[in-house]
């Protein structure tokens, strides 16, 4: 979205292709406390809404559509979508990530029936009951804390014996009276009743080898993210894990193609780092279009097309 904002302000003819709705993972975030400029924090939805309005104020066109692949035709890049194809000089890939599946029995079958990847969406369905959260990173810990508003007890399962989450979150979660942390423990199965509603989990202690069962009604999985890059296969060589390698200017190995945000190979995936990537990518895309094709601050209708896939 930031790439779109910068590209629109640069007066490039910019289109943001969006599969579902702008915002992605931020939309499922209840409260954002680490994006600067919001001293009280801001809801994920409101932050996305503000970013979208800001970009649209400068003329960013947001188009709903699913990009299926990219290809090259001389100096043009073709963005193939399910219903049409866009010919453009530059593409910024900002497709982000989606939650990783744990891959245990019951997970896919009972998604929406007790298995969830979004505490903000589904937490209120679990008032007064016990739930399980799986994971040890920032998201898992934040969501476990959020769920204490509704659930009578939150069981946090982590396969290691220490959390990866940042200090302030670690403190909060280890001292919270409603949260019990099950260290070095993984879930092996999710059980449901005859209405297919989740009723419990089987867990395995990796150190002792002991298994046990726990009667929970909700299982929230935050075991990592995987990049949305299958549409790049055959066009761009992907890094291990499917991420997109770039240089410090967000350029990929394909001329005219940049990447920004969580989809990139990098250490810290946050809204603020994604926004920084987006600005850098759009700036470099503008310079590339200007020097390579001689378009320069042309009116929007005749400007060089640039696409942002999100």
């Amino acid at each position: 979205m930031t790439a779109g904002l910068y590209a629109a302000r640069a007066r490039l003819n910019t289109r943001l292709m969006e599969k579902i709705s702008p915002g992605g993972q931020v939309l499922t975030t209840d409260w954002v406390d680490n994006y600067p400029g919001f001293p009280e924090g801001v809801s994920g939805f409101e932050l996305v809404d503000r970013m979208r309005k800001q970009a649209e104020r400068f003329g960013l066109e947001i188009v709903r559509g699913e990009v299926t692949r990219l290809s090259r035709e001389d100096d043009w890049i073709l963005v193939h979508m399910t219903e049409s194809t866009l010919r453009t000089r530059a593409v910024i890939v900002a497709t982000g990530t989606i939650p990783v599946k744990l891959g245990i029995p019951g997970e896919i079958e009972y998604t929406g029936k007790g298995v969830s990847y979004c505490a903000t969406c589904d937490g209120p369905f679990y008032r007064g009951v016990e739930v399980a959260v799986v994971g040890g990173g920032d998201t898992a810990v934040e969501e476990a804390l959020y769920l204490t508003r509704f659930a009578s007890k939150v069981h946090l399962f982590h396969r290691r014996d220490q959390l990866r989450a940042t200090g302030i979150l670690r403190e909060a979660v280890t001292t919270h009276p409603k949260i019990q942390i099950h260290w070095s423990t993984v879930l092996t199965e999710i059980h449901a009743d005859d209405r297919k509603l989740v009723r419990g989990v089987t867990h395995l202690d990796l150190k002792t080898g002991q298994t046990g069962q726990l009667p929970v009604e909700g299982v929230f999985l935050f075991v990592g993210q995987t990049p949305t890059t299958s549409f790049l296969q055959g066009f761009l060589e992907l890094a291990p894990g499917g991420y997109v390698d770039t240089d410090l200017e967000m350029a990929t190995v394909q001329p005219g193609v940049w990447a920004a945000g969580d989809v990139r190979s990098k250490v810290l995936r946050q809204i603020v780092t994604a926004a920084g990537d987006g600005a850098t990518a759009a700036f470099n895309a503008e310079k590339y279009i200007e020097t390579r094709f001689g378009y320069s601050h042309a009116p929007k209708t005749t400007g060089a097309p640039a696409g942002v896939a999100s």
Partner: protein, 109 residues
Amino acid sequence: MAGDNVLHVSDAEFDEMVLKSDIPVLVDFWAAWCGPCQAIAPTVEELAGEFVGRIRVAKMNVDENPKTPGKYGIRAIPTLIVFKGGQVAEQITGAVAKSQIVGALDKVL
């Protein structure tokens, strides 16, 4: 406005407006606090326009109407259910691409 084609249905009206409908009904179970629900709302409105006369499109606020979501075991939103002849014909959980919803609607037609 496509939004004009979307009904807002309550627990009390559910039987009459959804289960007894003569054409299939897509019900979008949503709540104000759910970001992904806001994300798919425009898609649902578009579909209401595109399928007008063939599929009725309704939204149910799960905060104001706890009975129906409870009955259908809904524990995640957004959940989209297509009812046909009073039965659950298709169910989709989470914000998904429009093409996936269209696929589910085409199946029941």
